[in-house]
């Protein structure tokens, strides 16, 4: 794992960690821990998955360890990065509405049980294929299907309730 690999993958990991923990400070620490572990374990990386999937797997374990150790549900922080460049008033309205919807989804994600949240983040947000997600979460395809079904339903109920 080279310095270039780290530079490329670090923002991906950090964004995932922020979405999983809702806490940028914790996310920063977990990202660093995952990268250090990846560098240390690099000789064991067997190229059976992509580098991104492999390091995401390490990060997922760090996130789960974090919640397990703290025995807490994630806090609700709020980062607010610019979504798009805007050109007109109509564009501004559209962008504001899109940002509000994305913020609602992020908050709702933070309310899900950790395993469902991680399954949705890996499958729907990061776009990993099902086999990769099963390998990262160490679950069977049937269990993943259940996590996705419950998570998506629960997410929708939270969004509709607000």
């Amino acid at each position: 794992m080279t310095e270039v690999d780290v530079r490329l993958i670090e923002p991906v990991l950090f964004r995932f960690a922020v979405r999983a923990t809702r806490d940028p400070e914790v996310a920063r620490d977990l990202t660093q821990d995952a990268l250090l572990a990846a560098v240390a374990q690099a000789p064991q990386f067997a190229c059976r998955s992509s580098l991104k999937t492999w390091v995401l797997g390490i990060l997922v374990h760090k996130v789960q360890d974090h919640f397990r150790a703290r025995q807490m549900e994630p806090l609700e922080g709020d980062e607010d990065p610019a979504l798009l460049d805007t050109a007109s008033a109509a564009d501004v309205d559209r962008v504001v509405m899109a940002r509000q919807e994305l913020d609602r989804v992020k908050v709702a994600l933070g309310l899900l049980p950790v395993r469902e949240r991680l399954a949705l983040l890996l499958t729907d947000v990061e776009g990993l294929d099902r086999d990769e997600v099963c390998s990262v979460l160490v679950v069977t395809p049937t269990h993943l299907r259940t996590l996705l079904h419950r998570g998506r339903n629960r997410l929708r109920r939270i969004l509709e309730r607000d």
């Binding site: 980062e79 992020k106 947000v125 079904h149 998506r152 997410l155």
Partner: protein, 69 residues
């Protein structure tokens, strides 16, 4: 639990795969398709599954800038 409830419970675990376009076992594919035609509750549940998935994909597509520091 009546027969309709049993049918609903039987098809709902397949909704995520169906929504993602993954192949279902042949019998399940037919059962899910037919059930969605006739069961308004399951149609709503299926629409919820799809809406959640679409919202999450939009989150991934937004690809917000990050600064890990």
């Amino acid at each position: 639990m009546n027969a309709i409830d049993r049918l609903c419970r039987g098809v709902r675990p397949h909704f995520s795969d169906h929504a993602d376009g993954l192949p279902l076992p042949a019998v399940a594919a037919v059962t899910v398709g037919l059930h969605l035609l006739f069961c308004p509750m399951c149609r709503r549940t299926y629409a919820s599954v799809r809406a959640s998935r679409d919202a999450l994909r939009a989150l991934g597509a937004a690809d917000e800038p990050v600064n890990p520091g």
